[in-house]
């Protein structure tokens, strides 16, 4: 008797766990962990205005986002870099926000700004000392992100060009970790999104331009990367509704609040 009961219970459990995997009605987003925070914010506010609309936002990275959109695992993939040539053939991208990337140093550093060439010099390993760029006589601790990260991809594209990032650069696996290391080391330099800069670090001027909204809108601050939603073919249904809302007035305002800029219209 007891055994049969147990058997039934086990079967129920198995059945239940099978059911739990069914997809919630609504919309699934997956991809860049840089886009994820703002996407979650959009989803949260959008949900309030559209009762019962479920949006699930998952991480995984830009590349995974593109793959997810292509395979249909997610309606929209989130991507924090420009699409590669072969990716462009398979999916299409819509810019949903622009993210300013800033170079950060320790607050006590005497450096206030660098030229793009100097940044490249430091990251290529050509310049190893802060003296080389007008700072104190201190060996520079260059901090980068790991290979495959969208943030690193965007940085390489915008700053490094064909030049390689030096092998002696420290590698951290999130922007938060980069910020933490820079905050702790007077000789460190790292790159993160403008949105997550805080008082523990100092953002540098690039080519004399401060990373603020005005300079970005005017186009004089150059280190901008697109945050895009990628989809296989034109976005339709729920994906289109959500996308239109993000690009509409309500979404744009929220984008600004999150420390990003809406796409240039």
């Amino acid at each position: 008797m007891r055994l049969r009961f147990l058997l039934v219970a086990v079967l129920c459990l198995l059945w239940g766990s099978g059911c739990a995997r069914r997809k919630a009605a609504g919309l699934t987003l997956a991809g860049s962990t840089s886009v994820q925070p703002v996407a979650e914010k959009w989803a949260e506010v959008f949900r309030q205005g559209h009762g019962g609309f479920e949006i699930s936002v998952q991480g995984g990275g830009s590349t995974a986002g593109v793959v997810a959109a292509e395979s249909g695992a997610a309606e929209l993939g989130m991507c924090s870099r420009s699409l590669k040539k072969e990716e462009e053939k398979r999916v299409q991208a819509v810019t949903v926000a622009r993210d300013a990337m800033v170079l950060i140093v320790h607050p006590k550093s005497t450096i206030v700004g660098l030229s793009l060439d100097q940044v490249r010099g430091l990251y290529s390993g050509e310049m190893r000392n802060w003296r080389d760029v007008g700072g104190a006589d201190l060996r520079a601790t260059v901090i980068t992100r790991e290979d495959g990260s969208g943030t690193r991809g965007a940085f390489e594209e915008m700053v490094m060009g064909k030049t390689l990032i030096t092998n002696s650069a420290l590698v951290q696996d999130s922007m938060g970790a980069v910020r933490q290391m820079v905050a702790a080391d007077q000789a460190a330099i790292g790159y993160i999104s403008l949105g997550i800069v805080d008082a523990s670090v100092k953002a540098l001027r690039i080519d004399g331009q401060e990373a603020n909204e005005e300079n970005i809108d005017r186009g004089s601050y150059k280190l901008l990367r697109p945050f895009t939603f990628v989809s296989k073919g034109e976005p339709t249904g729920n994906a289109k509704v959500f996308l239109d809302w993000i690009l509409g007035p309500e979404g744009r305002e929220l984008t600004r609040k999150e420390g990003l800029l809406p796409p240039s219209s």
């Binding site: 055994l3 495959g148 969208g150 092998n167 002696s168 590698v171």
Partner: protein
């Protein structure tokens, strides 16, 4: 009430027990299936080259092997003396009070999550290294120190087992010959437990090679040949954990291939440790037979036990010391 036949219960338990082996074989098959084709594709020469630029199609992992080796050796240099000393204190020297305090402390050490060790490394160790030696602080040295602490429970635990397996008659014989307690420990007990202690060190090595989180947090993860202990390094485990999140295609396969190398290293270390322990078992069983022999009984009376081949050297050493 339905009666379950014994046979059924036995079978069910056997199946459950075997499932652990099934999981192991599934893991093995999986990582080889995911990783091996890439090694085949790029060739062993490229795979063991020094260029790791996965997004540009270069998958050389030898610098990560160097990184793992450097950090592990560092960890052993720090962990082994402390570990063995602690085991000796616990089995040979410590009064009951000290033992009562020491044992739970070591157990807690083993239970602390590795991310906590890593965090301590970031907030305490790295600034200290930065201040004392300069440089970024994130370094092979930092990794070695953190791992040196993390391998302690492994080394201590297995060393204690080995030391406790040394028969009482050895100690009694040595003491009876006039050796001091320290001479007995150093010249008789430790040599007799040698194979077990070697196993402890090897398993500690396996622990160090396999540790991931704490290492990622403190070693800096640069793919480069370290010129000094103060240079950052990347270990095999760190390579996988750092890049797995965003990797796709060949890059992902290369990380699985890194896993294969790691898997083989750990397998080799475990086999080595088991072999070393196997030797211990035979010595122990031979030793266990000794007290039963007439010579063993005489030990307490002050005459030396008739040592067999394996233990002749330490016993003789004790005699020299004692005279």
């Amino acid at each position: 009430m339905i009666r379950i036949p014994d046979k059924v219960v036995e079978r069910a338990l056997l199946m459950m027990a075997l499932s652990s082996m099934a999981v192991l074989s599934l893991i093995t098959v999986f990582i080889f299936r995911e990783g091996a084709p890439l090694v085949w594709k790029v060739g062993l020469g490229e795979f063991f080259s020094t260029t790791w630029r996965p997004t540009a199609g270069h998958f050389g992992i030898s610098l990560m092997i160097v990184g793992s080796a450097v950090v592990t050796v560092g960890a052993l240099v720090i962990g082994v003396p402390f570990g063995i000393a602690c085991a000796v204190v616990l089995t040979e020297l410590a009064p009951a009070k000290v033992r009562a305090a020491l044992k739970p402390a070591i157990e807690i050490l083993a239970g602390i999550p590795s991310v906590v060790y890593g965090f301590l490394g970031i907030v305490v160790l790295m600034p200290a290294i930065r201040q004392v030696f300069g440089g970024p602080g994130a370094s092979a040295l930092a990794g070695s120190i953190i791992l040196g602490i993390m391998v302690l429970p492994t080394i201590i635990g297995i060393s204690i087992d080995a030391l406790q397996a040394v028969p009482r008659s050895y100690r009694e014989g040595s003491l009876a010959l006039g050796a001091t307690e320290w001479q007995t420990t150093w010249r008789v007990v430790l040599p007799a437990a040698r194979s077990g202690i070697v196993a402890a060190v090897i398993l500690g090595m396996g622990r160090a090679v396999g540790e991931t989180m704490a290492v990622i947090m403190v070693t800096g993860n640069s793919v480069q040949m370290p010129g000094s202990p103060l240079d950052p390094v990347r270990t095999l485990t760190a390579n996988i954990a750092l890049e797995m999140g965003y990797a796709a295609g060949d890059h992902r396969a290369a990380l699985f291939a890194t896993g294969i190398v790691l898997f083989l290293i750990i397998m080799a270390l475990n086999t080595l440790a088991n072999t070393a322990r196997g030797t211990k078992k035979t010595t122990a069983s031979r030793a266990a037979a000794a007290p039963a022999s007439p010579g063993g009984g005489a030990a307490a009376l002050g005459s030396a036990p008739v040592p067999d081949k394996g233990t002749a050297a330490p016993a003789n050493a004790a005699r020299r010391e004692g005279s």
